[in-house]
Amino acid sequence: MPLSVLLPLVVCGIIGIAVILHLLGLSRPARLEGSARASAVWLREFPDAPPTRVILSHDGQAALIETEAGSGVVWAMGADTTARYLGGARIRRTAKGLRIDLPDFTAPHIRLRLDPDEAAQWPSHMKDSA
């Protein structure tokens, strides 16, 4: 297939599918419905480190996890979730919550939407690991 046909086809196909998915409401982030769900999400990534404490964000899109091995976060990755320990993290306040920079190529920046109280309190829980 000539590039002059292939290129527009690929570009229009990608944009078109992305727009349709968004219009269908399929861009909504995952919600952690309660601490038990947040624990399960953490254990899905780190089965050997059961949470000793879970602090859920107000909108359920993230949770701060404390374990005997250190603190971590779980957060929405699109309709799914992932989790990371906070070792080596740099934590900054932003207008919408917190930004966590990790020395991790697969999760370099985590942006958490937190209300002002959460944004003020969470860093103190995180600093032991950071």
Binding site: M1, L3, L6, L9, V10, G13, I14, G16, I17, A18, I20, L21, H22, L24, L26, S27, R44, E45, P47, D48, W75, M77, G78, A79, D80, T81, T82, R84, D104, F105, T106, A107, P108, I110
Partner: protein
């Protein structure tokens, strides 16, 4: 010699079909309310990975093709281009695919290229297009060398490889549950390939087939999809980014960081490249074997069930 023979670039010609099939699957899921999940950024990343794969083929394809043409110039054999020869080439190339794919999961250097295909936590037709940008650097093109030296024209070998890839597109779906028993017995199917994309301990490192699932049954790597254990898609440690550049290169970066650690022997540095993913010189990480062994240790009743051999002991 059939030097002037050309075969169509079937993967590029299949692009309109890919787009139409994705829209059809999406429509099915939306109307029926079952049969899979879609999410905008995940799908967009998969599609961009697919586009990047085509682009890398255009930019770097000359490396493999040049290598194949050198082999073609060397070999005294020419099997021609009859339908039977093409069919035989397709079957043998599928065997080649099985081993390349198996190496892709068992050798970290090759996994670094293949990992991005498993990096989605979704399983739909866009996942099929989440393809590597860095396949050339794995040097797995050498696995096609025997076919060319046996007298299969390089163009034919690439043609049947394209057909293989197109076959594998439609099996990346949850919309199809099980197919007739005879088909499931011989062919790779959505059910078999769902298992391959699973991060559940029992589903790790199995079902490497491209088209014919018989290779897995022959070489002892087949694991059936169990109704009692839903497949959990994605990586053992899922990514925290949708950035296609990070998806494409993250394991290469991981290898670089591991290899350049201070205080390692040269053998340890080499092992970080060639041992299975998760290997570490100090045992601080875990391979799929370790993950399975730990699961059996925690669930002794599962030992001996599909994907969990009873002799897997935790180290």
């Amino acid at each position: 010699m059939s030097d002037m023979i050309t075969f169509p670039d079937v993967v590029n010609w299949a692009v309109p079909f890919f787009v139409a099939a994705i829209l059809a699957e999406l429509l099915w899921i939306v109307i029926k309310g079952r049969g899979g999940r879609y999410e905008t950024r995940d799908a967009l990343t998969s599609l961009l990975m697919g586009a990047g794969n085509v682009a890398s083929g255009i930019v770097l394809g000359f490396v493999a093709y040049g290598f194949f043409m050198v082999l073609w110039a060397i070999t005294p054999l020419d099997l021609g281009t009859s339908a039977w020869v093409i069919a035989l080439c397709f079957v043998l190339d599928d065997l080649r695919y099985y081993w390349v794919h198996r190496f892709g999961h068992r050798i970290r250097w090759v996994w670094a290229s293949h990992v991005n295909h498993h990096s989605s936590q979704h399983y739909n037709l866009t996942t099929a297009l989440r393809q590597t940008w860095t396949g050339t650097f794995t040097f797995m093109m050498v696995m096609r060398a025997p076919l060319i030296l046996l007298g299969f024209h390089p163009g034919m070998v690439l043609f049947v490889g394209g057909l293989n890839l197109i076959y594998q597109f439609w099996i990346h779906t949850e919309a199809i549950t099980r197919l007739p028993r005879w088909f499931e017995a011989v062919m790779n199917t959505p059910s078999h390939h769902r298992v391959h994309h699973g991060r559940n301990p029992r589903y790790l490192d199995c079902n490497y087939a491209g088209v014919f699932i018989v290779w897995d049954k022959l070489f002892g790597t087949f694991v059936p999809e169990l109704d009692s254990e839903k497949v959990d898609y994605g990586l053992v440690h899922n990514l925290g980014t949708f950035n296609p550049l990070r998806v494409a290169f993250h394991e290469w970066v991981g290898i670089f960081r591991d290899v350049t650690q201070p205080g390692l022997t040269w053998r340890e540095r080499l092992n970080y490249c060639v041992m299975p993913p998760g290997w570490s010189h100090d045992g601080s990480k875990g391979t799929s074997f370790d993950i399975k062994a730990r699961y059996i240790s925690d669930h002794p009743e599962s030992a001996g069930s599909p994907g969990l051999r009873p002799n897997m002991k935790r180290k």
